[in-house]
Amino acid sequence: MKELFSLASRQLGRKKLRVFLIVLGIAIGVAAVIGVTSLGEGIRVQAVEQIKASHDLTTIDVSAGVEAESITLITDSKLKAIEREEHVLFVAPYVKDSYVTQNNTYLAVKGITPEYRQIHRNLQLEMGDWFEERGDHNEIVLGYDVAKRLSIIEDLGIGDEFTTKIRLYGEEGRPKDKPAVFKIAGILKSAGDEHDNQALVGIKEAKEMDEKDAYDGLFVKVDDPAFAASVGDKIEGLGLSARSAQDVIDEVNKLMVAVTIVFGFFSGISLVVGALMVVNTMIISVYERTKEIGLTKALGASDFDIMKMFLAECVIIGVIGGILGDLLGIGFSVLIDIVGKPFLVSALGGELGAGLQSGSITAITPGILAAGFTISLVLSIVSGLYPARRASRLNPLDALRQI
């Protein structure tokens, strides 16, 4: 075996420039695939990092399960069942309603429990206080934008009471407006999310108002991110819909892997060129060495021996091409990072762009390098099969007569 390769390398050594050119051809193809794949991988890693940074991986977002025609509501018994699950620290149910003031200003209202604030730790008071749990009168905390609107349109501020209505539908489907008086207990700082446009009330008061039996949603806090998926599965087993940041990460991963494979595949077209070069060069080599092949057969080599000799040369080309391709690929990915990052950052802008700024947009993994090397090796061998077979089938006498 060792001698086979030493012989093959001697044969290749006679045609250094030619070998260098094919190796380079393959290496460039491999480098293109590695570069593109590393870009896909880099963006995937960045996206996942950003999701991890902005999401709590221990929180599961549960909503009513919708399946075909039937809806599974989040009832109290479901809530209890979830609470009993292992690894669940606490649950934070909420209801969502729409209230309207006497001056026809609509308020998106969420009825929450104190646990809700443990999930959304970004909810901080700008002024005033949180409503008291089970207080003897209705209190409300306004989101930042809601507070501004109410103060401008209705001249309401901290400590003011105002009348609001919720529209309910009776059994015959007739609308019925139910009024209630709320006192503004506090105003939130801007959270930069949906809460700026919501008003929060205690869940007990909210349920008294809307007379609903079920919750509109709930958050589940687990003790460790590792169990988020399994707890989520159990919740889905109850017929409800569960989402966690891990689901988002999974989706991003799936998407980016698919995109990377498609890109890698198309950049791999350059590999076809490399493969054709190998085929061409090896066919030329068989022609040039026809007489030598005939001689080798006359000296006792079998067809398989001849085939092995040519394939060994292809293996050497593939190995060198793979190593060179990996090195060029690393260089290419660094180049993409240097040239492509400023472009991507400015194109994406905002938070997403800023997130990219800190890291690298390409990522080379051992897997990518191993794949590059394997592609080069397999490609060279496959490309060499036809020429090698052709060489092995030469008639020794005809081959010897060749001038």
């Binding site: 001698e3 012989l7 044969q11 030598e292 000296l299 010897l400």
Partner: protein, 223 residues
């Protein structure tokens, strides 16, 4: 090894013209014999050598090597026969340019699967180089050697797997008379001292007469 041909016939087609290369050739060669085949160009002498050497198949007739009939349809057995029992010497030397002298001599041993270890092969190759008087040239590439030296390397290579039969196709054809003589001397020595059977195709009738039994061939027939 005895060699015997029975009604050995070979034709091939050049376009629509049938060319008779061998026409019912019956040849018997005793153990340790040296036969020179002479004849004009196109008389079929090389074809005879190639058929006996298992490089070419006859149209009709049979070849017996050491009493065994050669089965020309069994490619693997032809490969084995060439590997174990034949040593070829060509007019144009046919050394492998990428390999140096000693590696060229080792080359056939490499395909002999029941062969020796690497060091044994090297030892044997050096011994053969010594025998042809070129041990000092072991590390030279063919391009650095004269024609006579190359042919001596080629003879050493033909002996690599210790064959019973050496088939030489005009081994002196590309050499001047002095070098040619040294090659013929070498072949005679192999025949006399090592007991190798040799079949040589040649134009040099005078030399052939001195050292071997001469077979004349004309239009594919032994005269």
């Amino acid at each position: 090894m005895t060699v015997e041909t029975r009604d050995l016939t070979k034709y091939y087609w050049m376009g629509k013209e049938k060319v008779v290369a061998l026409d019912s050739v019956n040849l018997k060669m005793e153990e340790g014999a040296f036969i020179s085949v002479v004849g004009p160009s196109g008389s079929g002498k090389s074809t005879l050598l190639n058929v006996i050497g298992c490089l070419d198949a006859p149209t009709k007739g049979e070849v017996y090597l050491a009493g065994w009939r050669v089965d020309y349809r069994n490619k693997q057995s032809l490969v084995r026969l060439r590997r174990k029992f034949m040593g070829f010497v060509f007019q144009t030397f046919n050394l492998i340019p990428a390999l140096n002298a000693v590696e060229n001599v080792e080359y056939p041993m490499y395909f002999n699967k029941e062969g020796r270890s690497k060091s044994e092969r090297r030892e044997n190759a050096m011994k053969l180089l010594d025998m042809v008087g070129l041990e000092k040239r072991a590390n030279h590439l063919p391009s650095e050697l004269s024609g006579g030296e190359q042919q001596r390397i080629a003879i050493a290579r033909a002996l690599a797997n210790d064959p019973k039969l050496i088939l030489a196709d005009e081994p002196t054809g590309n050499l001047d008379s002095r070098m040619g003589k040294s090659i013929l001397d070498l072949l005679r020595r192999l025949n006399e001292e090592e007991g190798k059977n040799i079949i040589m195709v040649t134009h040099d009738l005078e030399s052939a007469k001195k050292m071997s039994k001469v077979v004349r061939i004309m239009d594919g027939r032994i005269q």
